[in-house]
Amino acid sequence: MSGYLGRFLEIDLSNKSFAIHKLREDWVRQYSIMGYAVRILYEEVRKKGKLDPLGEDNVLVIATGPLVGTHLSGSKTAFVAISPLTGYLGKSMMAGSFGTMLKKSGFDGLIVRGASKTPVYVSVVSGKAEIRPAGHIWGMKTSETFRVVREEVGVEKAKVVAIGPAGENLCRYACVVSDELRIAGRTGMGAVMGSKRVKAIAVYGDSAIPVSDRKTLAELIRKHGEVCLKSSRAKALKSYGTSGGLVTYVLDGNVPIKNWTRGVFENQDPSRIKITGQYIQQVYKSRGKSCGTEVPCVIQCHKEVYLDGAWVKHPEFETLALLGTNILVNDPEALIAFNRACDELGLDTISTGAVVGWAMECYEKGYIKKSEIGFELEWGNPEAVLKLIEMIARREGIGDVLAEGVARACRKINPETCDFAPHVKGLEIPAHHPRRYNTVGLVYATSNIGASHLQGMTFLVERAVALLPEYGVAEPPRSLEEKVRAVVLTQNLCNFLDSVGMCKFPVFGVVDFDYLAEVYSAVTGWRVDKYEVARIGERIWYLERVLNLELGLRVPEDTLPTRFSREPLSEGPVKGAVCPTEDMVKLFYQYRKLDPESGRPDPAKLKELGLDTE
């Protein structure tokens, strides 16, 4: 196989042993690598039944993809396991060099089984795999962990991922952080690592990555670079990263404000908003960089700012929205501090922002008292937010409740607060607004991992930034039917991109999927066209769906909080708008051929996709 190395490294932490998992070619062709990881989980669940996400039977698969390490712009590595937040499929994509280095060390991925009795870290360096003691770094923040681990493995160029105290304390939305500060943020993969007592994973190698047709690939990469440099979308991302979009999104009504209850931020006056990428880069020295030293991405949407004598990470759009507009904080240094705290402690900024916003509404309404927190938790109080982030990561005081995520925390605080808990299937809702872009609402409601904007980037299709004429979507969808079809299509395409290890930013609105098909064909030597590309993604979607059904998924969970479908805002760009969730989900079920009672796919559909799950 080209593009693929043909093997995963299996790590059994309970027995402290290693094994080689040779990839099945039929599964690789059907699903590529992230999809392969889902298939591994599915087989585990079929064998053992429901898995406790924080128990030793949960399996963490870290999966690269055939396009990783091939010098294409953008690279993503999947972290896949049963999610401690949802109890269903957990999946999170990490940018940067870790995946490339993992492939250079000789593996398409890692399968982490069992649990260690004591803290450890895993080293796959220069052809040698080891499980090393980590008692001396347990409790450390991530930046210090990277330094110590790299020193101990003795290779400066080794790439390291780690969990912080949040993962160690099994905070359900703990993330995994890389030494390039790229994050596997969503669905609590950091807690899964913490439950296995794996503090970090270090990888290094210099093996060549096999490519079928290097000459064609080189030409495709060269053309992609030219297109990226000319594309307005790519240029804008290069200038400001996603943070540059905040001002537009505020004016577009596409951000959460005060836990989704307000439609106006800072009087909708761009000159008053101090947490936009444009403002931050005017006030502070800034620079762009590729998301990883091994990833030659021409877009370089990753930004840093110079603050207090050091270069620090510039928060991205989702962080600026969930920890900014959502909680009425309009202070750039506060946002930088929140982001840094979350990265050091290992917390997903999206879930953290959603939890804090919900907690602030609880406080406002009297469901949480000052005596229970220890300080005031009014809207827009950055000091309180910083304290709360620390308490959540360490599970101290009310942080112990909030670390459970909004879906569980609301039941503990008062079931009435569940009415305004912003989650789908337990995963907190990101910043794109379902009242503004109904397709986004449908993506959240039907995504197999819970509310995720990256499981179908339809907000780009709805605003005509990234149409898909190669699949017949030449205009922004207007009717309900067109919107549902756009969601189904982008869900499939996003799955394909995740599975081959490609970032979505150099793709949507920049190139088309005929190009992607050419790239995949050149790398693997397997001729595919854009229809097979969509089919691979579609197959993965159904595999994820049947996995979730095995884990107990019920039809009523394919929905949004009623706030979005029944509580229109009284002000702002989306005044009066709601998301017609029920109608859209009904139509979605018809398109996806899901039984309206059980949520199960039509067996004929599964057979058509060759989903041999029996």
């Binding site: 979308r233 979009g245 444009q278």
Partner: protein, 95 residues
């Protein structure tokens, strides 16, 4: 002979804050056409910016009265919906 009135619109460019006074040639103008004029003035591609009025993004089909002040904001990851006439706003560079 009676002189024709000059129909102007103020365009504040974000984040620079620079204000252009643009002659829109009539009492009102479609946003899509305004973007064409602005492109000529500042050289940035028409599909790089969106137009906002009174705290709200406008679509290409919306109409702005002369004498108003609008804000030009960069699209980055999204923006107004272009009409079929401004198809370059959603043009694709095919390889």
């Amino acid at each position: 002979m009676k002189e024709l009135p000059m129909y102007k619109l103020k365009v504040r460019i974000y984040p620079e804050g620079r204000v252009l006074e643009v002659d829109v040639g009539g009492p009102r103008i479609k946003v899509g056409d305004l973007l064409l004029i602005v492109e000529g003035e500042i050289g940035a591609a028409r599909d790089y910016y969106a137009v906002a009025l009174e705290g709200r993004l406008l679509s290409s089909e919306d109409v702005v009265e002369a004498g108003r002040e609008v804000v030009l904001v960069p699209l980055v990851t999204g923006g107004c919906l272009p009409t079929p006439a401004t198809s370059s706003a959603n043009s694709r560079e095919f390889l």
